[in-house]
């Protein structure tokens, strides 16, 4: 349960990183600015995407196989979320941000969004970037970017966009792509495999501890790589890496459907910690607009004593459908899942995890905290599967729901399949409503109602927040506070 020992970036570092990121963003955008492929999905579109990206044959083949398989599938209906049918032929599968629709300056941006940035204390420059303003300032940070990359490169760590990895490290991509989430995995993962445009790639060589949190690159990547991201992280034997996805400010986004795939591979004695703060546009209070976030995230503890830990704070999107999972293949390998999912207004979340115990003495821990407010609906769906080979496997699941209103809902769907009698599987679940008595108690100590709500919610989420890198945990708390404004009732 302990975190990999990675350094907490100080404020200066954070600033540097954000400048690096800005540079990266511009490099990326100019790359694809010219290219817009007509709406709809066909083999021709996939060939075009692959050609634009100058991909090797194996990539094109893989995409086409995925596409052909996708044609045989139908959209899943088993989750507890509801949404109007998605028209897959009405999506641009390869497009730069439509410049006409980008706001020219902050005065054209939704004031509600700006108020949130202010509350979160986001610097002005960054607010513009997040809101999608067409900023044309160029930062003098080429050298900063290079220093950052140089440091990682000197350790043999590869950290780049997925496209770059395909060009520069095709052998690694070929070996590991789809090895955790095959293109046949599920409807959305298959679609992603066919059409993904970009994402992040990380390789940490044998015995290397990545000395910094890998983060802001992605913040920027995410903004431009659009709706079908693909991330692949490989920790070779004895390697350690902590990766932070997302950023804590809600991002303006025109894409309704997001179907990302994240694959983690941890070899013998390797450790991967993957932290996410997801706060895509949730739609307005009546449930109009908002992102559908259908993500497939899976980690493979491929060697003995490998360790994969997922920590997520989900506050955004109209619909979230996501189950970061661990395949515990190596003996003594460890999988962890720590999650806070908040739904307010009309948001729906169906999230959880799968822990597949294959190796001997494998251990998994699941801590899920669901917060429902307004008319939000929050479901935990988790599978713990112990195969016959997994002698002495152990799982502990703790699944708590906090209700903030009389109209919201929380559901728990635990699935447990145990095929080895020496396994121990424990499941605990609680549901509580935020109490008037608790609120009064705190207010009678001088706390405002808002502070009282935040204190209770933070207490509820504590076991998850303590798993986040410190800097991120503070931001996540602020984000929950903003997401819960006026949520009591």
């Amino acid at each position: 349960m302990s975190q990999p020992e990675v350094s907490h970036p100080d404020a200066r570092n954070a600033e540097l990183r954000s400048r690096v990121a800005d540079e990266y963003r511009w490099g990326f955008v100019t790359d694809i600015e010219q290219e817009v492929v007509p709406k709809g999905l066909s083999e021709a579109v996939i060939r075009l995407i692959s050609a634009k990206k100058n991909e090797p044959d194996f990539m094109l083949e893989w995409r086409l196989q995925a596409y052909r398989h996708w044609l045989t599938l139908t959209e899943p209906t088993w989750s507890s979320v509801h949404h109007p049918a998605i028209d897959y032929q009405a999506i641009h599968y390869y497009a730069a941000p439509k410049s006409g629709s980008q706001p020219k300056d902050l005065s054209e941006v939704d004031p509600e969004l700006l108020r949130t940035y202010e509350k979160l204390g986001i610097p002005l420059q960054e607010r513009e970037a997040l809101a999608g303003v067409a900023v044309d300032a160029v930062f003098d940070s080429v050298s900063v970017a290079t220093t950052f990359k140089d440091k990682l490169e000197s350790l043999g760590i590869i950290f780049c966009s997925f496209s770059e990895a395909v060009q520069k490290h095709p052998e690694l991509v070929r070996e590991y792509l789809g090895s955790v989430v095959p293109y046949t995995d599920n409807y959305f993962a298959t679609l992603n495999s066919a059409v993904f445009t970009d994402g992040s790639f990380v390789y940490v060589p044998k015995g290397v501890r990545c000395p910094m949190e890998l983060s802001t690159y992605f913040r920027i990547n995410a903004r431009n790589s659009g709706q079908f991201e693909r991330t692949l992280i490989i920790a070779d034997e004895g390697a350690t890496v902590s990766y932070l996805e997302g950023c804590t400010a809600p991002m303006r986004d025109e894409n309704q459907l997001h179907a990302a795939v994240v694959e983690l591979v941890a070899l013998k004695d390797a450790r991967i910690k993957y932290s996410t703060v997801q706060n895509w546009y949730p739609g307005d209070a009546e449930g109009r607009g908002g992102i559908y976030n259908f993500v497939t995230k899976r980690g493979d503890c491929r060697g003995d004593r490998a360790h994969i830990s997922w920590t997520q704070v989900e506050t955004g999107s109209a619909i979230t459908w996501k189950y970061p999972s661990c395949i515990l293949r190596g003996d003594d390998s460890v999988g962890e899942f720590y999650s806070v999912a908040l739904t307010n207004h009309r948001q729906q979340a169906d999230t959880g995890t799968k822990m597949i115990h294959i190796g001997r003495n494998t251990r998994s821990t699941i801590v899920s905290k669901g917060i429902s407010a307004g008319f939000g609906s929050n479901a935990y769906r988790g599978l713990v599967k112990v195969l016959p080979s997994a002698a002495n496997a152990r799982n502990h699941t703790q699944c708590d729901s906090l209700l903030m209103s009389d109209h919201c809902a929380a559901h728990t769907f635990p699935y447990i399949e145990v095929k080895n009698p020496s396994a121990t599987v424990e499941h605990e679940a609680t549901t509580s409503k935020i109490g008037d008595d608790q609120l009064f108690y705190l207010r009678s100590r001088g706390l405002s109602e808002e502070d009282a709500v935040n204190l209770i919610v933070n207490g509820f989420c504590k076991e998850v927040f303590k798993e986040l890198p410190m800097e991120f945990a503070v931001e996540a708390q602020k984000l929950l506070a903003v997401s819960l404004e006026g949520a009591i009732g």
């Binding site: 009064f440 009678s444 100590r445 204190l455 207490g459 509820f460």
Partner: protein
């Protein structure tokens, strides 16, 4: 400091308090006694600002420097707290996952801001809290436990007194803080209250038993029964109640669950 006039309070359409008059002056200690169900906690909760009670008549004025003559009932609970009113709950609430120290710090800082004082930094805050822990003979480990979670009854009561000691209220209302305490804990609590005594502060002790009053000597004792103060006196009244019970003071219409303390 506090002026309650003809206070009527109902829960739903059931009247609980039926015309309370009470004057509490700075420097005084008042004890409010009475049988179970007589409305003592209702009075305490209404003074602290709990919603869900209907004040059907009467007024409560708080006569402190910041809020001279202001209608207390119009203020939110946090405003009352910041103005120096503190209620030690009869049944303190548990706040899972929130460390005691976190609550103490937020509370103290919000009260300090109101008083025009700056927020305490982490070191000064810890110094303050530690001196209060010592006063109440409490272990530092208390600070890092979640608020009241898994506390014994006695620990919860002591924790209320710790909060009171840290916040240094001008008007402290203690709702049966003595019940369920062993004699040592009772003495510690009394010590905490006595340490707070000051010519500019006042204390209202709601208690069912005379026992606590051996350690905190009240200036005035009131008996609440049937939603009214049926008798007021000095510390001697508490001793008389110890001997004779409440029966002789109960108005004829008052139906009571328990006749003796």
């Amino acid at each position: 400091m506090l002026e309650i006039r003809n206070l009527h309070v109902s829960i739903g359409d059931r009247p609980i308090l039926a015309g309370i008059d009470l004057d509490v002056k700075a420097g005084e200690v008042h004890a409010i006694m009475g049988p179970n169900g007589s409305g003592k906690s209702t009075l305490a909760q209404v003074l602290a600002g709990r919603e869900g009670y209907a004040v059907t008549a009467g007024s409560v004025r708080y006569l402190d420097r910041d809020l001279v003559g202001q209608d207390l009932l119009a203020l939110a609970p946090e405003q009352r707290a910041r103005a120096g009113i503190f209620l030690a709950f009869q049944y303190p609430l548990e706040i899972p996952g929130v460390a005691n120290v976190q609550l103490l710090r937020s509370a103290l800082n919000s009260v300090r801001l109101q008083r025009g004082e700056s927020e305490l930094d982490a070191m000064d805050f810890l110094d303050t809290v530690k001196s209060k822990l010592a006063l109440l003979d409490m272990d530092e480990s208390f600070l890092y436990r979640a608020v009241n979670e898994g506390f014994s009854g006695g620990e919860k009561k002591r924790n209320e007194i710790l909060q009171m000691a840290v916040l240094e209220p001008r008007l402290a209302i203690l709702d049966e803080t003595d019940s369920g305490l062993d004699i040592d804990a009772l003495k510690t609590v009394a010590h905490g209250v006595n340490a707070l005594k000051h010519p500019e502060r006042a204390v209202i002790l709601v208690t069912h038993y005379q026992r606590l009053l051996n350690y905190i000597v009240p200036d005035h004792v009131h008996v609440l029964a049937g939603g009214r103060i049926v008798r007021s006196g000095d510390a001697g009244l508490a001793l008389e109640l110890e001997d004779r019970g409440y029966g002789w003071l109960i108005p004829e219409s008052g139906s009571l669950e328990e006749m003796r303390p």
